[in-house]
């Protein structure tokens, strides 16, 4: 690949929340890189800190939150050349008036609740454009219709006069996507955009996001707990557990050569229709750690069937596996005993590789 342009660079981000029960450390030292034209997926269970991370990027701060440290560097071009800013340092006003909507946009999880029920689709769509693109009402209306057509809504002129309650969930999510793309953002954040939708519509919305991403050549950060979705859309995958990235790599790395036992668990727990009936659906035992408690060693250790003594004492560093693949588990330490992924998973990956090759051959 010729010089990739980095758009987002998160270093050592930590975020906590003050709750009635104490301080919840939701994100504990997170690193992440996003390049233009790429889709980066963040996968993890609920409560692993994915949503908190993207909310920090969007500058959506809860009143009881405190940022422990770190930087979120965002590079953009505001017409006067390229600029890099730390999103945690700039004023909320700058964030609100100059970055949001124009350079960073977001698609939310639940389309049923994310549109204003009292405003027509058209107005909601034009609002951002009138503000950021400095265009007139007529032009904005034309552009809005064009966007709606692009996201697959027929008869856009008529639809623009509709109110959200007159549209189905899938349609509303298309509208939300159109709103997000209305001002040509550099970075699009999708927070579980298909979770609330019917399975049949999920695939279409995913395809839409992928198509638009290619067309506009934007960077997409895709939050999900669904590995099937990840395999379909992502170039890079970050696996998140208890507020940290525990394995990161290209999609092939994560799916075909996973190294962290948690990733193994995640991959094994995908229901597989083609697989052996004898295979029992794998599940990861126990619960994610309570982030109210101080975590000592590897957060995954208590649930890890391959846990070692050191996992309970010291936090594993990121071990480099290749130029683009890293994982944080002591199993990669040269001193560790050799542990292979479970057989069942190995068979499954073999099958997936074959299938993949077959697809590639077509």
């Amino acid at each position: 690949m010729s010089e990739k342009k980095q758009i987002l660079k998160i270093r050592d981000l930590s975020v906590s929340f003050h709750t009635a029960n104490g301080l919840v450390k939701a994100v504990r030292g997170l690193n992440m890189d996003v390049y233009r034209g790429e889709t980066v997926a963040v996968v993890g269970e609920s409560g692993s800190g994915k949503s908190v991370t993207v909310k920090e990027i969007m500058g959506i701060h809860a009143p009881n939150e405190s940022i422990g440290g770190g930087t979120i560097e965002f590079t953009y071009d505001d017409g006067g050349g390229e600029k890099t800013v730390d999103l945690l340092k700039i004023s909320p006003r700058t964030m609100q008036n100059h970055l949001k909507g124009k350079h960073i946009a977001m698609v939310f999880q639940d389309p049923m609740t994310s549109l204003d029920p009292t405003m027509t689709i058209g107005r909601q769509l034009m609002e951002g454009m009138l503000l950021h693109l400095h265009i007139g009402r007529e032009e904005a209306r034309k552009r809005a219709a064009e966007l709606l057509r692009m996201v697959g809504i027929s008869d856009p002129e008529k639809r623009m006069k509709s109110y959200p309650h007159q549209l189905s969930g899938g349609m509303r999510q298309r509208v939300v996507i159109a709103i997000a793309l209305s001002c040509d953002p550099d970075l699009l954040i999708c927070d579980e955009p298909t979770t609330a939708l019917d399975v049949t519509i999920q695939a279409r919305i995913l395809q839409l996001i992928m198509d638009l991403q290619k067309q506009f050549n934007i960077a997409v950060v895709f939050i999900t707990h669904n590995l099937g979705v990840v395999a379909k859309v992502a170039d890079y995958v970050n696996v998140m557990y208890a507020g940290k990235i525990i394995e990161t790599g290209r999609t092939e790395d994560i799916f075909f050569d996973p190294r962290h036992p948690y990733t193994w668990g995640l991959l094994s727990s995908i229901p597989d229709v083609s697989g052996d009936k004898a295979d029992r659906l794998y599940n990861i035992k126990g619960n994610p750690p309570n982030l109210l408690n101080e975590i000592k060693g590897d957060a995954f250790a208590p649930r890890n069937p391959f846990a070692m003594e050191i996992d309970f004492q010291e936090e594993p560093p990121m071990f480099k596996i290749s130029g683009h693949h890293q994982a944080a588990t002591w199993l990669l330490d040269p001193r560790a005993p050799k542990v292979e992924m479970p057989d069942q998973l190995r068979r499954r990956i073999e099958a997936m590789k074959k299938e993949d090759a077959a697809h590639a051959g077509n």
């Binding site: 126990g286 994610p288 309570n290 408690n293 208590p302 391959f306 070692m308 003594e309 309970f312 001193r335």
Partner: protein, 330 residues
């Protein structure tokens, strides 16, 4: 040495995975929310003190709420101890009224009214009556409201539509008019006032219960119970009712100050408990006419009434906030 740490360990750490979510119980968390709310904590004390006074003050007082002592009428407040400080000393316009009327051996903490009755005793026995009336009315309301709401919400269909129309019409009748007419016909007495208050009070409760039932009746745990063959009664009382309890208690608490107010209001327009009996409203009604000359006569019942309503409102607020955050999450 260091390598020892790199041996796979089997078993000895499993308990750590289990204990992670030894979470606080619902009740404990709600209590925590409640006690963090200063207004709510203060309100508990206000309510308790007023209830306590309503119970013991009339018993301990040397006067009775109905003893007329015409020669000692309109005495200003006089409290032993405080009188040395120059307040509550029985003086009016620079003269000791107690001395003028030959009542220096008496102490009326809140003074006496125009018939010479001890206001202190009357205020607390009036509080007792007000609490009694509103308490009983609200309890019956809750009972009717829960039954009505449960039936309407649970059985749905035509039953629900019919029952909803009935409440819709009943609630578009102004409560004031219904209650007034009721009392004009029946003549105010303790029982009749309770009936009048009860007549319209249950509608709100039934609405809330119905909404809650609708919310829960199609949830998985109810469906599961039904699949297991639990009958309607079991589902209503074992599955749905316990889940709606929080909302019911909050609504119940909010209805108490309403009933207290309504009783006071009725007494104020002349539909209160009959004469010698005091209620806060009837005392305000008696006292307000002379409020410009003897402000203390109306002040005492007004302050107690205000504190009582403030206490119950703050308490209910705190209770709702303590119960609500959990409700929003589900």
């Amino acid at each position: 040495m260091n390598d020892e740490k790199f041996c796979l360990c089997t078993g000895e750490h499993t308990e750590e995975a289990e204990k992670e979510y030894a979470n606080d119980s619902y009740a404990k968390e709600a209590l925590h929310h409640f006690t963090a709310n200063k207004g709510a904590v203060v309100s508990v004390f206000i309510i308790l003190i007023i209830i306590l006074m309503a119970i013991i003050a009339p018993i301990l007082s040397p006067y009775s709420y109905k003893d007329v002592q015409a020669q000692y009428s309109n005495l200003p407040p006089r409290v032993p101890g405080l009188e040395q400080l120059g307040v509550f000393n029985g003086y009016r316009n620079g003269a000791n009224v107690y001395a003028q009327k030959g009542a220096l051996d008496q102490y009326h903490y809140f003074g006496t009214d125009n018939l010479g009755r001890d206001i202190w005793t009357r205020v607390w026995s009036g509080t007792r009556i007000s609490l009694y009336i509103s308490g009983i009315a609200v309890l019956i309301d809750v009972f009717i409201g829960i039954i009505y709401g449960l039936i309407s919400g649970y059985f749905g269909g035509k039953t629900d539509i019919f029952m909803q129309r009935v409440t819709e019409i009943l609630s578009s009748l102004p409560q004031l008019v219904i209650v007034t007419l009721m009392l004009v016909v029946m003549k105010p007495g303790l029982l009749n006032i309770i009936i009048a208050l009860m007549l319209t009070g249950w509608i709100n409760m039934s609405r809330i219960v119905r909404a809650q039932v609708l919310k829960y009746k199609n949830q998985e745990f109810v469906l599961a119970a039904r699949t297991l063959g639990v009958g309607s009664r079991g589902i209503i009382f074992k599955e749905i009712l316990p889940n709606t309890l929080g909302q019911i208690i909050v609504t119940f608490m909010f209805s108490i100050p309403n009933a207290i107010f309504l009783e006071a209001f009725l007494a104020f327009v002349g539909l209160g408990v009959p004469a010698p009996i005091a209620s806060l409203g009837s005392m305000i009604n008696d006292g307000y006419k002379s409020a410009m000359v003897y402000p203390y006569m109306v002040m005492a019942p007004v302050i107690v009434l205000a504190l009582l309503m403030l206490g119950f409102n703050l308490f209910s607020d705190g209770l709702r906030d303590a119960i609500d955050p959990q409700m929003k999450q589900t």
